[in-house]
Protein backbone atom coordinates (compact mmCIF):
# COMPACT_ATOMS: atom_id res chain seq x y z
CA UNK A 1 0.00 0.00 0.00
CA UNK A 2 1.15 3.50 -0.89
CA UNK A 3 -0.27 6.72 0.47
CA UNK A 4 -0.04 9.85 -1.56
CA UNK A 5 2.32 12.32 0.04
CA UNK A 6 1.84 16.04 -0.52
CA UNK A 7 5.10 17.90 -0.84
CA UNK A 8 4.78 21.66 -0.36
CA UNK A 9 7.34 24.08 -1.69
CA UNK A 10 7.72 27.14 0.48
CA UNK A 11 9.95 30.17 -0.06
CA UNK A 12 11.58 31.40 3.15
CA UNK A 13 13.13 34.88 3.43
CA UNK A 14 15.30 36.35 6.16
CA UNK A 15 16.11 39.96 6.90
CA UNK A 16 18.46 42.05 8.98
CA UNK A 17 20.01 40.37 12.04
CA UNK A 18 18.09 37.14 11.39
CA UNK A 19 19.49 36.98 7.88
CA UNK A 20 22.97 37.54 9.36
CA UNK A 21 22.45 34.79 11.95
CA UNK A 22 21.16 32.24 9.44
CA UNK A 23 23.76 33.24 6.89
CA UNK A 24 21.44 33.60 3.92
CA UNK A 25 18.69 35.90 2.70
CA UNK A 26 16.34 33.24 1.33
CA UNK A 27 15.92 29.57 0.67
CA UNK A 28 13.34 27.15 -0.63
CA UNK A 29 12.16 24.36 1.58
CA UNK A 30 10.03 21.30 0.93
CA UNK A 31 7.73 19.87 3.52
CA UNK A 32 5.12 17.19 3.75
CA UNK A 33 1.89 17.49 5.62
CA UNK A 34 0.52 20.38 7.66
CA UNK A 35 3.08 22.91 8.67
CA UNK A 36 2.93 26.09 10.75
CA UNK A 37 5.13 29.17 10.68
CA UNK A 38 6.47 28.03 14.06
CA UNK A 39 7.45 24.62 12.66
CA UNK A 40 9.47 26.31 9.93
CA UNK A 41 11.13 28.70 12.38
CA UNK A 42 12.05 25.82 14.71
CA UNK A 43 13.65 24.03 11.78
CA UNK A 44 15.56 26.88 10.15
CA UNK A 45 16.75 28.33 13.48
CA UNK A 46 17.84 25.08 15.10
CA UNK A 47 21.55 25.72 14.58
CA UNK A 48 21.68 29.47 15.21
CA UNK A 49 21.81 31.53 18.33
CA UNK A 50 19.25 34.28 17.78
CA UNK A 51 17.44 35.15 20.98
CA UNK A 52 15.57 38.29 19.97
CA UNK A 53 11.94 38.71 19.04
CA UNK A 54 10.95 37.19 15.69
CA UNK A 55 8.37 38.76 13.38
CA UNK A 56 6.70 36.53 10.78
CA UNK A 57 4.99 37.55 7.55
CA UNK A 58 3.33 35.20 5.09
CA UNK A 59 2.73 36.59 1.62
CA UNK A 60 3.63 40.06 3.00
CA UNK A 61 1.07 40.05 5.80
CA UNK A 62 1.97 39.69 9.47
CA UNK A 63 0.92 36.34 10.96
CA UNK A 64 1.70 34.55 14.19
CA UNK A 65 3.68 31.36 14.66
CA UNK A 66 0.54 29.20 14.57
CA UNK A 67 -0.23 30.21 10.99
CA UNK A 68 -0.77 27.16 8.73
CA UNK A 69 1.06 27.41 5.42
CA UNK A 70 -0.10 26.51 1.94
CA UNK A 71 1.73 25.49 -1.22
CA UNK A 72 3.77 28.32 -2.77
CA UNK A 73 3.49 30.61 0.25
CA UNK A 74 6.34 33.00 0.88
CA UNK A 75 7.23 33.22 4.55
CA UNK A 76 9.61 35.80 5.99
CA UNK A 77 11.32 35.94 9.38
CA UNK A 78 12.78 39.20 10.64
CA UNK A 79 13.55 41.13 13.82
CA UNK A 80 11.37 44.04 14.99
CA UNK A 81 11.46 46.81 12.41
CA UNK A 82 13.50 49.99 12.83
CA UNK A 83 12.55 52.25 9.91
CA UNK A 84 11.36 55.86 9.87
Amino acid sequence: MYHSVIIMVIVVKYFASISDAIGKTSEQIEWQDKITAGDIWADVSKNIKYTGKVMVAVNHEYVDMSYLLSENDEIAFFPPVTGG
Partner: protein, 152 residues
Amino acid sequence: MYIEIINEEFDPWQKLVEYKRSQLKEKNNIGACSVFLGTMRDINSGDAIKSMELQHYPDMTEGYLEKIVQNATKKYKIIDSIVLHRVGLVNPSDPIVLVASWSEHRDEAFEATRQIMEALKSEAPFWKKEATDKGFRWVEPEMQSSEEMNEA
Protein backbone atom coordinates in the same frame (compact mmCIF):
# COMPACT_ATOMS: atom_id res chain seq x y z
CA MET B 1 -2.10 58.43 -2.09
CA TYR B 2 1.50 58.21 -3.13
CA ILE B 3 4.15 55.82 -1.80
CA GLU B 4 7.76 55.85 -2.90
CA ILE B 5 10.78 53.85 -1.81
CA ILE B 6 13.86 55.86 -2.77
CA ASN B 7 17.32 54.41 -3.24
CA GLU B 8 19.28 57.68 -3.34
CA GLU B 9 19.41 61.01 -1.55
CA PHE B 10 16.24 63.03 -2.19
CA ASP B 11 14.90 66.52 -1.55
CA PRO B 12 11.77 65.98 0.54
CA TRP B 13 10.40 69.52 0.12
CA GLN B 14 10.77 69.43 -3.63
CA LYS B 15 8.96 66.09 -3.71
CA LEU B 16 6.22 67.54 -1.54
CA VAL B 17 5.81 70.69 -3.64
CA GLU B 18 5.79 68.70 -6.89
CA TYR B 19 3.16 66.28 -5.60
CA LYS B 20 0.97 69.12 -4.36
CA ARG B 21 1.32 70.96 -7.65
CA SER B 22 0.65 67.98 -9.88
CA GLN B 23 -1.95 66.05 -7.88
CA LEU B 24 -3.70 68.46 -5.53
CA LYS B 25 -3.74 71.64 -7.58
CA GLU B 26 -7.53 71.83 -7.84
CA LYS B 27 -8.17 70.92 -4.19
CA ASN B 28 -9.20 74.34 -2.91
CA ASN B 29 -10.85 72.73 0.10
CA ILE B 30 -7.42 71.96 1.59
CA GLY B 31 -7.02 74.00 4.75
CA ALA B 32 -4.32 72.02 6.50
CA CYS B 33 -1.16 70.10 5.71
CA SER B 34 0.81 68.23 8.35
CA VAL B 35 4.28 67.05 7.38
CA PHE B 36 6.79 64.92 9.20
CA LEU B 37 10.38 64.61 8.08
CA GLY B 38 12.71 62.13 9.72
CA THR B 39 16.42 62.69 9.12
CA MET B 40 19.51 60.74 10.10
CA ARG B 41 21.18 61.87 13.31
CA ASP B 42 24.95 61.67 13.68
CA ILE B 43 24.72 60.09 17.11
CA ASN B 44 22.71 57.16 18.49
CA SER B 45 22.87 55.39 21.85
CA GLY B 46 25.87 57.57 22.70
CA ASP B 47 27.99 56.61 19.68
CA ALA B 48 28.91 58.68 16.64
CA ILE B 49 27.27 57.21 13.54
CA LYS B 50 29.28 57.51 10.35
CA SER B 51 26.64 56.14 8.00
CA MET B 52 23.73 53.78 7.96
CA GLU B 53 22.44 51.03 5.68
CA LEU B 54 18.66 50.98 5.38
CA GLN B 55 17.48 47.51 4.42
CA HIS B 56 13.87 46.65 3.59
CA TYR B 57 11.65 43.82 2.31
CA PRO B 58 11.10 44.99 -1.25
CA ASP B 59 8.10 42.82 -2.09
CA MET B 60 6.29 43.81 1.09
CA THR B 61 7.25 47.40 1.83
CA GLU B 62 5.23 49.41 -0.65
CA GLY B 63 2.03 47.42 -0.17
CA TYR B 64 2.38 47.61 3.58
CA LEU B 65 2.83 51.37 3.51
CA GLU B 66 -0.29 51.60 1.32
CA LYS B 67 -2.19 49.66 3.95
CA ILE B 68 -0.94 52.00 6.69
CA VAL B 69 -2.13 55.02 4.71
CA GLN B 70 -5.48 53.36 3.98
CA ASN B 71 -5.98 52.76 7.70
CA ALA B 72 -5.32 56.45 8.43
CA THR B 73 -7.66 57.47 5.60
CA LYS B 74 -10.41 55.30 7.07
CA LYS B 75 -9.98 56.79 10.53
CA TYR B 76 -9.45 60.47 9.68
CA LYS B 77 -11.17 62.68 7.12
CA ILE B 78 -8.15 63.41 5.00
CA ILE B 79 -7.94 64.51 1.39
CA ASP B 80 -4.64 62.80 0.60
CA SER B 81 -1.46 61.43 2.18
CA ILE B 82 1.98 60.52 0.90
CA VAL B 83 4.84 58.46 2.31
CA LEU B 84 8.39 58.55 0.96
CA HIS B 85 11.06 56.36 2.53
CA ARG B 86 14.74 56.13 1.84
CA VAL B 87 16.62 52.82 1.54
CA GLY B 88 20.29 52.04 0.90
CA LEU B 89 23.30 53.88 2.23
CA VAL B 90 22.32 56.96 4.25
CA ASN B 91 24.58 59.69 5.64
CA PRO B 92 24.07 61.94 8.68
CA SER B 93 21.45 64.66 8.10
CA ASP B 94 20.05 62.84 5.04
CA PRO B 95 16.25 62.66 4.86
CA ILE B 96 14.94 59.18 5.73
CA VAL B 97 11.17 59.48 5.75
CA LEU B 98 8.64 62.06 4.64
CA VAL B 99 4.97 61.75 5.57
CA ALA B 100 2.44 64.40 4.58
CA SER B 101 -1.34 64.57 4.97
CA TRP B 102 -3.76 67.16 3.63
CA SER B 103 -7.21 67.81 5.04
CA GLU B 104 -9.83 70.52 5.41
CA HIS B 105 -9.21 71.05 9.12
CA ARG B 106 -6.02 70.79 11.11
CA ASP B 107 -6.93 68.05 13.54
CA GLU B 108 -7.32 65.41 10.82
CA ALA B 109 -4.02 66.26 9.09
CA PHE B 110 -2.10 66.25 12.39
CA GLU B 111 -3.62 62.95 13.54
CA ALA B 112 -3.28 61.18 10.20
CA THR B 113 0.40 62.07 9.78
CA ARG B 114 1.07 61.04 13.35
CA GLN B 115 -0.74 57.72 13.00
CA ILE B 116 1.04 56.92 9.73
CA MET B 117 4.42 57.63 11.36
CA GLU B 118 3.66 55.51 14.43
CA ALA B 119 2.49 52.58 12.28
CA LEU B 120 5.48 52.95 9.98
CA LYS B 121 7.91 52.90 12.92
CA SER B 122 6.41 49.81 14.50
CA GLU B 123 5.27 47.79 11.45
CA ALA B 124 6.83 48.75 8.11
CA PRO B 125 9.62 46.30 7.14
CA PHE B 126 12.71 48.51 7.31
CA TRP B 127 15.89 47.83 9.29
CA LYS B 128 18.75 50.17 10.07
CA LYS B 129 22.36 49.03 10.32
CA GLU B 130 24.69 51.66 11.71
CA ALA B 131 28.38 52.11 11.01
CA THR B 132 30.22 53.27 14.15
CA ASP B 133 33.89 53.35 15.08
CA LYS B 134 33.35 49.93 16.64
CA GLY B 135 31.92 48.43 13.44
CA PHE B 136 28.46 47.70 12.16
CA ARG B 137 25.42 47.07 14.34
CA TRP B 138 21.71 46.63 13.80
CA VAL B 139 19.64 49.36 15.43
CA GLU B 140 17.58 48.17 18.38
CA PRO B 141 13.84 48.74 18.00
CA GLU B 142 11.98 51.27 20.12
CA MET B 143 10.46 49.91 23.27
CA GLN B 144 6.74 49.47 22.64
CA SER B 145 5.85 50.45 26.17
CA SER B 146 7.39 53.91 26.17
CA GLU B 147 6.01 55.79 23.19
CA GLU B 148 7.07 59.04 24.82
CA MET B 149 10.71 58.08 24.46
CA ASN B 150 10.45 57.00 20.84
CA GLU B 151 13.29 57.59 18.44
CA ALA B 152 12.48 59.68 15.41
